[in-house]
């Protein structure tokens, strides 16, 4: 490579590498995360039925986004790095949704009470 011909990837800020995130933003993010942790524990104390699961997951997802965007600099980073990360999350989501859809669909075919290994042993021992 030459001085006069930057590679396609190179931007104008040839000599500065990476983005510096000020400590005060980091501290603010961290405090938000701690508050959210307290919040999620507090909200789990209420019996909201299935809503508990979704609330906990939503808070966790929000916390995760904060970590990724600020601690991991993704907000200031090349978009492609974000694409990589989001792709991996999307694949996990795809995997979970397909596997769950399938197991829910065939759940009626599952033999009731068929932890056979456990059951047989119990049956043999108990008179």
């Amino acid at each position: 490579m030459t001085d006069t011909t930057p590679s396609p990837q190179e931007t104008t800020e040839h000599h500065s590498v990476g983005h510096i995130v000020p400590v005060r933003i980091l501290a603010a993010t961290g405090i938000a995360l701690l508050i959210l942790t307290v919040f999620t524990v507090w909200i789990a104390g209420f019996d909201l039925g299935n809503l508990n699961i979704w609330a906990a997951l939503a808070i966790a997802a929000f916390k995760g986004s904060l970590v990724v965007l600020f601690f991991m600099h993704l907000r200031y980073d090349r978009p492609f790095n974000g694409v990589v990360f989001v792709t991996s999350l999307a694949l996990v989501a795809l995997f979970i949704s397909f596997a769950l859809t399938d197991t829910r669909e065939y759940a009626p075919d599952i033999l009731p009470g068929d932890a056979t290994e456990v059951q047989k042993q119990l049956a043999e021992v108990q008179p």
Binding site: M1, S7, L91, F98, A99, E105, D114, E117, V118
Partner: protein, 566 residues
């Protein structure tokens, strides 16, 4: 687009270091190989290791075919046979085909084709080679300490509670380690292609082989971790009885199949995509004709990689997967056939009005089109729900995946080895014996596997040590074919090894290739390019001319270097 200052044509000698030194001899000693970080040497080490494994697993394959020549006990008992087909499958898949093209040829030519000095992370590259070696050692340990008879698919509950053979944990560890070797290779190549392209090497100037390797890298990075966690779960399931997969402990055996195929279907594309990349190069170079429909081929590679992630359930149509998912997966499965068809048609169009030379690499490329077309088309029978129910787990499937995996991936690998052999070793092999051997392999392959389509549709289940007499004639033909094929491979090994010692010195560009590796000397210098190379249209052959004296092609002196014309 970046503008490049072009003032003079690239001299044919460009990139050539002092006479006689190249990557093979610039340093010597066993240590200079074992600790090398040069992608070319790592590629060569991979090539030797992978071909050794191929030889071993090929012998297993021959033993399987020999056992099956007649019903009942022929040369081994049922347990030995079960172990044999397990090892044949596991070694071929995990140690040979998955790493074959990317790790050996990909490692060797990728940075040179790209115009880079090395891959992005040379140390990681060497590390992934040693991970491969570790995986191979684990696989050998699996044979020595207990054996494995689960089939390469490791289905639970057979693998967790059903088998008396204890090699399963070693084999699982081998798969885990080999998985990470594959991940690091893919990761390395993706970063290399993203960040190490020299000036002028835009995405659409890359040779199609690089697009294929890039698409492969995506799958390697995004799918392989799942097989890692799958075998980890398998190990804890077998060792401790965790109960995730074992129905007798409340788990779900079908879930294991989801886990397994979430990786192993995309892995099919890890195997075939690089092969398709090789064929794109071979067809174009040996026809001396610009590749037809560059963008369609490039995008079809990426499309195959992406679609490949959402079709895994078509391995589970009769597994008692829910009908809803069966229908969904069948529908998506058909979408994968389109990009493959596009590639085939584009290769044909490339042949049109070409100047086709029937030398050995080209013969392999044409064999690939022939065999892969059969393999791909018979996929239609298996993707169709109603017919798959009958054909699933029969020899029809065995024939289908051998046409794709062997007729596709392995034939492409062998073709690629012949294509780049002069570049890698600096020697020419015997063209005569090359064609003979290719013919034997081609004929033997078809005799071995085509008959298995018939046998399968007649209902012969796979993985059977014994069978009823009515299938015998097909088995006999198949076994005879496998011997013919083996003869072809032995001849190949013989003349290639012979060429190392007695072969004619290879010119820099024996075929008239246009991509950057043909602009280096044969073998290439250690540094690849002392200066960043010039990049042009890598399928524009008009800049080359034949040199009778050198018995190869060189750059035309009267034409300015074509960089910047786009």
């Amino acid at each position: 687009m970046t503008t490049i200052d072009v003032t003079k044509p690239m001299p044919p000698e460009a990139g050539r270091p002092a006479e006689g030194t190249n990557y093979l001899n610039h340093t010597t000693g066993i240590k200079s190989w074992l600790l090398t970080m040069d992608h070319k040497r790592i590629g060569v080490m991979y090539l030797v290791s992978i071909l050794t494994s191929f030889f071993l697993a090929g012998i297993f394959g021959l033993l399987i075919r020999t056992e099956l020549i007649a019903p009942g006990h022929t040369i081994m008992d049922a347990d030995a046979y079960n172990m044999m087909f397990t090892l044949h499958g596991a070694i071929m898949v995990f140690l040979v085909i998955i790493p074959s093209v990317p790790a050996s040829l990909g490692n060797f030519v990728l940075p040179i084709m790209l115009g880079a000095k090395d891959v992005a992370f040379p140390r990681l590259n060497l590390f992934s080679y040693y991970l491969w070696v570790t995986g191979a050692i684990f696989a050998v340990a699996a044979i020595i300490f207990g054996g494995v008879d689960t089939g390469w698919t490791l289905y639970v509950p057979y693998s967790t509670t059903g088998t008396e053979m204890n090699g399963i944990i070693f084999l699982s560890m081998a798969v885990f380690v080999l998985g990470f070797s594959s991940i690091f290779t893919g990761l390395n190549f993706i970063v290399t292609i993203h960040r190490l392209r020299p000036p002028g090497m835009t995405w659409f100037k890359m040779p199609l082989f690089l697009w294929a390797i890039y698409a492969t890298g995506i799958i390697q990075v995004m799918a392989t971790p799942v097989i890692g966690i799958t075998v980890l779960l398998l190990i804890v399931e077998r060792a401790f009885g965790i109960g995730i997969f074992d129905a007798s402990l409340g788990g779900d055996p079908i879930l294991f199949q989801h886990f397994f195929w979430f990786y192993s279907h995309p892995a099919v594309y890890i195997m075939i995509l690089p092969g398709m990349g090789i064929i794109s190069e071979l067809i174009s170079v040996h026809s001396h004709k610009h590749i037809f429909g560059y963008r369609f081929i490039a995008f079809s590679s990426v499309a195959i990689a992406l679609f490949g992630f959402i079709v895994w359930g078509h391995h589970m149509f009769v597994s008692s997967q829910s009908p809803l998912m069966n229908v969904l997966f069948s529908a998506i499965t058909f979408s994968v056939s389109i990009p493959s068809a596009v590639k085939i048609f584009n290769w044909l169009a490339t042949l049109y009005k070409g100047s086709i030379s029937l030398n050995t690499p080209m013969l392999y490329a044409l064999s690939f089109i022939f065999l892969f077309t059969i393999g791909g088309l018979t996929g239609l029978h298996l993707g169709t729900l109603a017919t798959d129910i009958h054909l699933h787990d029969t020899y029809f499937v065995v024939a289908h995946f051998h046409y794709v995996m062997m007729g596709g991936a392995i034939i492409a690998l062998i073709g690629g080895i012949h294509h780049w052999w002069p570049k890698i070793t600096g020697r020419m092999y015997s063209e005569f014996w090359g064609r003979i051997a290719c013919g034997l392999v081609f004929v033997g392959f078809n005799v071995t596997f085509f008959i298995q389509f018939v046998m399968g549709s007649k209902g012969m289940p796979r993985r059977y040590w014994d069978y009823t007499d009515k299938y015998m004639i097909y088995h006999v033909i198949s076994t005879v074919g496998s011997y013919i094929m083996a003869l072809g491979f032995f001849i190949t090994a013989a003349y290639l090894i012979h060429s190392l010692f007695r072969g004619r010195k290879a010119p820099a560009n024996p075929w008239g290739g246009r991509s950057l590796e043909w602009q280096c000397s044969s073998p290439p210098p250690a540094e690849n390019f002392p200066e960043p190379p010039h990049v042009g249209d890598c399928y524009d052959f008009s800049v080359l001319e034949w040199d009778e004296e050198e018995q190869g092609y060189h750059w035309r002196h009267d034409i300015p270097h074509p960089v910047g014309e786009a």
